[in-house]
């Protein structure tokens, strides 16, 4: 480790800041943390294990196709809160690891336009949690229906199946993104998980206890209640209200991302 003269190099490092490059960088930053790898792996595998165990422990195979479909979908989606917790934790780590030991000062000195960093993290969180949820749900479904058997077999083409799997993936990606935004604002992992779960589960319950029509309506637009419409097999609502759920969830998610961008941009590091 003696004095070294910076030698002219073989590779030419003529670079420019690009959004694609920032996304690739954020993706590497996420992957290179052991906690992130564990959380994503668990979010992928635990739901599959639960679905298989649930179906295996089912005593008799229901005779009616509709009951068999309900049994499989129930095995796949009844414990959605477990991958949700894991994906919320994953997105929290993606956000708060930036503030571990002041690492953000390096990141923002390299990318001074900070909104690009926030959006790149959003891309990483959304893509990861959507894909993990969709793959995990689809594999769970296929394994569960295979184990349950019966004729005609329950397939991905059965009614509601695609909607439940895609809707669950959307709702979980939205929750993860909200956790990411909260994490960028609060900078503390514990506070972020608490605030995000509070926003998804506690706030709607509190608001629904207030018997005022406008408040009840507002509480109904929150991502927690709205995601129910996406995740459950039988919804009494019309296709119109399904679209409304998607819009409400996307709007709330976009709003938290916008808020986080403003906070991150205005803050001294």
């Amino acid at each position: 480790m003696t004095a070294t003269t910076p030698a002219p190099s073989s590779t030419q490092a003529a670079g420019r800041l690009t959004f694609g490059g920032i996304v690739a960088s954020e993706s590497l930053k996420a992957r290179s943390l052991r906690s992130v790898r564990w959380l994503v792996a668990l979010a992928l595998l635990i739901p599959i294990a639960i679905a298989v165990i649930t179906v295996l422990s089912q005593g008799t195979v229901p005779a009616r196709p509709a009951d068999r479909l309900a049994a499989v979908l129930g095995a796949v989606s009844d414990t959605n809160y477990i991958p949700l917790l894991l994906l919320v934790s994953f997105a929290t780590v993606v956000a708060t690891s930036e503030y571990e030991r002041g690492a953000a000062s390096v990141t923002f000195a390299v990318v001074p336009r900070r909104t690009a960093i926030v959006l790149a993290k959003v891309v990483v969180a959304v893509v990861t949690s959507f894909v993990v949820s969709l793959v995990s749900g689809t594999v769970s479904f296929l394994l569960a229906s295979g184990i349950l058997g019966g004729a005609p077999a329950v397939t991905l083409a059965s009614p509601d199946v695609a909607r439940v799997l895609a809707g669950t993936a959307l709702a979980q990606a939205a929750s993860a993104t909200i956790a990411l935004s909260v994490g960028l604002m609060l900078r503390s992992s514990i506070a972020t998980v608490a605030a995000t779960l509070g926003f998804i589960y506690v706030v709607p319950a509190l608001l629904q206890a207030i018997p005022v029509q406008a408040v009840l309506w507002f509480a109904g637009t929150l991502p927690g209640p709205e995601s129910t419409a996406l995740e459950v097999p039988d919804i009494s609502s019309t296709p119109g209200s399904l679209a409304w759920s998607v819009v409400a969830i996307l709007a709330w998610t976009a709003a938290t991302v916008a808020l986080a961008s403003v906070v991150v941009r205005r803050r001294d590091v």
Partner: protein
């Protein structure tokens, strides 16, 4: 807007954190291709100034330009200014190589460049280790590697030798010198005057957020403390002492015929000695050191000082 020969430019920059004024109406320039030392006691506002240059903290008022524009407007910030502000600002769970690769990727730099800077700072062997297990010196080297990644034309280094062993100090000094020799502009902060004296061409001296002095090192030092001439007289020093006083010099008489003369050049002192027929045993011009200049400039602006020992 870009001024020739100037890389970094601050105009009347003030930064307040609530009631505290961290930087107070600060203006200076960092000239192209020079090593500029940012010197000041702890709490002088050096780090805040560097953070504002890199857009990490926003000034309460004033304008900062890098290459004639706000740093955030640079299309390739990593290739313009390489910075090491806090060597420990790395997530401890990441390996050194992943840390550097994540920085390189933002600007689409090749993975080969990462290996080059790892080699350059002597961390190739430990590139796959988690940064959390790094020693202070290794962390410092990693910070410098990150600063060099984009082959920036300017380096901003905040206390780069802080906590380094003597080997590391020499390494940083040599590295800065060789970069400067190849045309890189360097802004380097330190509270160690000896370090500055060995590396800097220009000096910016800060105290309590204010600019105390700026300019080429020798000018700053000369302006802060006048040099003196030490004379030892063989015989009676009184005639020379009187002659020096008449010529407008300050004379400080010690025992054994030793005079410390200020305000007169050594040639003039010699001439006066001849005229007053005094035999000189010694005639030594004393150059003011950076250390003396630093104390002269900052005595009033040390934030925390111990009470005078009695």
């Amino acid at each position: 807007m870009r001024r020739a020969g100037v890389v970094i430019e601050l105009e009347n920059v003030t930064k307040r954190y609530g009631e505290t004024v961290a930087v107070d109406d600060l203006s200076f320039v960092v000239r192209t291709g020079r090593v500029t030392g940012l010197l000041g006691p702890n709490g002088a506002g050096k780090s805040t100034t560097m953070r504002m240059i890199l857009n990490l903290h926003r000034p309460t008022s004033g304008v900062i330009r890098v290459d004639g524009r706000p740093f955030a407007d640079d299309p390739a910030p990593l290739c313009a200014v390489g910075a090491m502000l806090d060597a420990h600002a790395v997530h401890p769970g990441r390996t050194a190589r992943d840390h550097l690769r994540s920085i390189a990727m933002t600007h689409r730099l090749s993975p080969g460049r990462v290996d080059e800077v790892l080699e350059l700072v002597g961390l190739s062997a430990v590139a796959g280790r988690r940064v959390g297990a790094f020693s202070l010196g290794m962390g410092q080297r990693l910070g410098i590697a990150a600063a060099l990644l984009g082959r920036p034309h300017t380096l901003v280094l905040d206390e780069p030798v802080n906590g380094l062993d003597p080997d590391g100090v020499v390494w940083v000094r040599d590295l800065v010198r060789s970069l400067a020799a190849s045309g890189t502009t360097v802004l380097i902060s330190s509270h160690l005057m000896s370090e500055m004296a060995q590396t800097a061409d220009d000096l910016i001296v800060m105290g309590r957020g204010k600019l105390l002095a700026a300019g080429p090192m020798d000018e700053v030092v000369a302006a802060a403390v006048a040099g003196s001439v030490r004379v030892r007289v063989d015989g009676d020093p009184a005639p020379l002492s009187a002659a020096l006083g008449e010529a407008g010099g300050g004379v400080n008489r010690a025992e054994d015929g030793v005079l410390t003369v200020t305000g007169l050049a050594s040639e003039k002192v010699g001439a006066l000695a001849l005229r007053s027929s005094t035999v000189l045993a010694e005639l030594v011009p004393q150059h003011a050191s950076l250390e003396e200049a630093f104390f002269a400039l900052t005595t009033d602006s040390v934030e925390y000082s111990a009470p005078e020992a009695s």
